[in-house]
Amino acid sequence: MPSEQWTHPEPGDGPAAVAAQPSPEQVIAGLRATSEGGAELTQLLTPEGERVPSPQFDKYVDDIDAEALRGLYRDMVLVRRADREANAMQRQGQLGIWVPLLGQEAAQIGSGRALRANDMAFPSYREHGVAFARGVDMKDLLGIFRCTDHSGWDYQRHGFHPYTIVIGNQVLNAAGYAMGQKFEGKVGDDDGEATIVYFGDGATSQGDVHEGFVWAAVYDAPLVFFCQNNQWAISEPTERQSRLPLYQRARGYGFPGIRVDGNDVLACLAVSRWALDECRHGNGPVLIEAFTYRMDAHTTTDDPTRYRLSDELEEWKLKDPIERVRAFLARGGGADQAFFDDVQAEADAFAADLRDYTFNMPEPPPDRIFSNVYAEGNPVLEAQREEFLSYLDGFASAGEH
């Protein structure tokens, strides 16, 4: 259960001589939990790769045998490899920008693999791993970052909404979508539908996120709020957004909040399945705080050395989400070296394919600017398009002479 970090006097007691304040250590312990993630952290696999039994959550991963775990491992390795390739391609000028997910593979694969086909996911902009888990071809993400497109996949087919860059906007959109699932009678039994929405710790300061909590709560929307607390909002630490651990906020809105080890793919899978299950059966919403770390820069335009210490990074490297699964598999005989080598080879091929695709990505035609502004057309815009095309033609014919 949530623990209070400090006690204010009860109203009847009158003000204390000096207001009770959390000590900096208490704040850090609650918010950052740098050593172990805090007492309330749900964990099934330690950083050393040891299985921790959980009376509450084990049943949600009963079916994860060695083969299934190898599958989760493979997912994370492929996604990380793609992420590193895209990061490198940005450095080589092939992408305008890249938003790295390094370190957040377990949170994304664990939650993403908990979803069913009819569920819907609303990402923010770093959810490449969730996209992968939803069956989105990772090539279709790259147009956004090469700046040829704003979005490149069929959101309905994949149950994966377009990326949202304006912080927090998608949380309300997801609440509305989940309300729709409810209104259509798609919740209530084992076949129920649910929605999951991704956002960062920084986003929790936005009004839209607060409003999303309110809406989902009062309409009992089947919505899982999945906050990836990667400790930083660009240069600002979690302490700049909250005085309480974020998962504890849920209580104030009247639904459960839980903190899971975001670097533990098994725990993320179990907790997400539990939360989605609650939603499917009409007991939503639920807030999950996946306690994790952004191992790389915020984006390729950021310079994290200006605001954080390398010690912190080193410490989190010891909690790597992929290494602990590898250790667990290797130790228990769930996988041998040949398997790990195969996955690595597959990941390299996967990355090479992305690279080829990126280098050969066609440029959009200029008049794409005017496409799809309106569903029903607009005569003013049509005139603008015609004028623009004849202006461009002028150059073409001038060039012919």
Binding site: G96, I97, G143, I144, F145, R146, C147, T148, D149, H150, I165, V166, I167, G168, G202, A203, S205, Q206, G207, D208, A233, I234, S235, E236, R240, Q241, T301, D302, D303, R306, Y307, E363, P364, P366, R368, I369, F370, V373, N378, V380, L381, Q384, F388, Y391, L392, G394, F395
Partner: protein, 330 residues
């Protein structure tokens, strides 16, 4: 003693902010990442180190919060300077801007002053993803109670930011982000001199064939076009609008009376925009001097496209010259 410094727009803003903070302890800087990081464009670099965390506030990540609390701080006598990271992220704060910031002075019959500056990096040309390249200034110019200005060079950056902070009215201060660190726009500034008038339009290049009026990042485009037009034997006059609300159109009228032709240039979509307003007012005031209709060179009436297409979306030198030709052909 004069202190001449050669500064980019970005450095000029940084120095202007520093001066304003030194002069008045009530000046605060607030926004996302403005402290340790110095803002994503480094415009506030070093200020938190020198003025402390209570004068340079790394705020929680919420624009309505930034602007709404700035309103309250202003009521309490502070002079907040808010940084919005990119223009596309100002909209969560739009309600506070239009409902409170712009109207409190009016609503209280002048009792409450709103000396708040909102700095907004705006415009395209940096190859960014969505929401990082827009030009929403007309939306703010449409709100009574706000002043809207846009700078185009380092001198105005240095003096303009200081004057905006001194003003008792709320000011939306639009900064041409793609020019922040442009070496070509580095200008020699007498940083100890007296402030020139900043919030008025100004002829930045004289000419006789036609007038081009522009603001912010488009001023450079207009000046480049004027330089190119010279080779074709045309002499363009360029007016930098500088103040977008209230519009200072006097110098534009004067120029149009001289040249007889006007091209209004802006990156923003054209429908119901500042360039619409300029065209309407110029035809009203200068009808008998006009040799051709006022022409507009603007972004299209579409969302800002993916950046691979922005070279087509953004008005460039060629489109300005094309408009000059059309005007002359009338």
């Amino acid at each position: 003693m004069t202190d001449l410094q050669k500064l980019t727009i970005g450095k000029a803003l940084n120095l202007g902010l520093r001066r304003a903070m030194e002069e008045d302890p009530k000046v605060l800087i607030m926004g996302e990442d403005v402290g340790k990081l110095g803002g994503v464009f480094r415009i506030t670099d070093g200020l938190q180190k020198d003025f402390g965390e209570q004068r340079v506030l790394d705020t929680p990540l919420a624009e309505s919060g930034i602007i709404g609390t700035a309103v309250g701080l202003a009521v309490r006598g502070f002079r907040p300077v808010c940084e919005i990271q990119f223009e596309g992220f100002i909209f969560p704060g739009f309600d506070q801007i239009s409902s409170q910031l712009a109207k409190l002075h009016y609503r209280t019959q002048g009792k409450v002053k709103m000396p708040v500056v909102i700095r907004v990096p705006f415009g395209g040309g940096i190859g960014a993803v969505e929401h990082h390249s827009e030009s929403p200034e007309s939306l703010f110019a449409h709100i009574p109670g706000l002043k809207v200005v846009s700078i185009s060079n380092a001198v105005d950056a240095y003096w303009g930011i200081q004057q905006a902070i001194k003003s008792d009215d709320p000011i939306l201060f639009f900064e041409p982000k793609r020019l922040y660190h442009s070496g070509a726009l580095r200008a020699e500034i007498d940083t100890d001199g007296t402030a020139p008038p900043v919030f008025s339009s100004q002829v930045v290049r004289e000419g006789t064939t036609a007038t081009v009026v522009a603001y912010g990042p488009s001023v450079k485009v207009a000046l480049d076009a004027a330089a190119a037009a010279e080779d074709e034997g045309h002499s363009l006059e360029v007016v930098d609008l500088r103040t977008l609300s209230p519009l200072d159109l006097g110098p534009v009228f004067e120029s149009v009376r001289k040249t007889g032709r006007l091209i209004a240039l802006s990156e923003a979509p054209s429908e119901s925009s500042l360039t619409s307003e300029i065209a309407a007012r110029v035809q009203q005031e200068c009808f008998y001097s006009l040799e051709a209709p006022v022409l507009r060179v603007t972004g299209f009436d579409t969302p800002y496209p993916p950046a691979k297409l922005e070279e087509h979306y953004l008005p460039d030198l060629d489109r300005v010259l094309h408009a000059v030709d059309r005007s002359l052909a009338w």
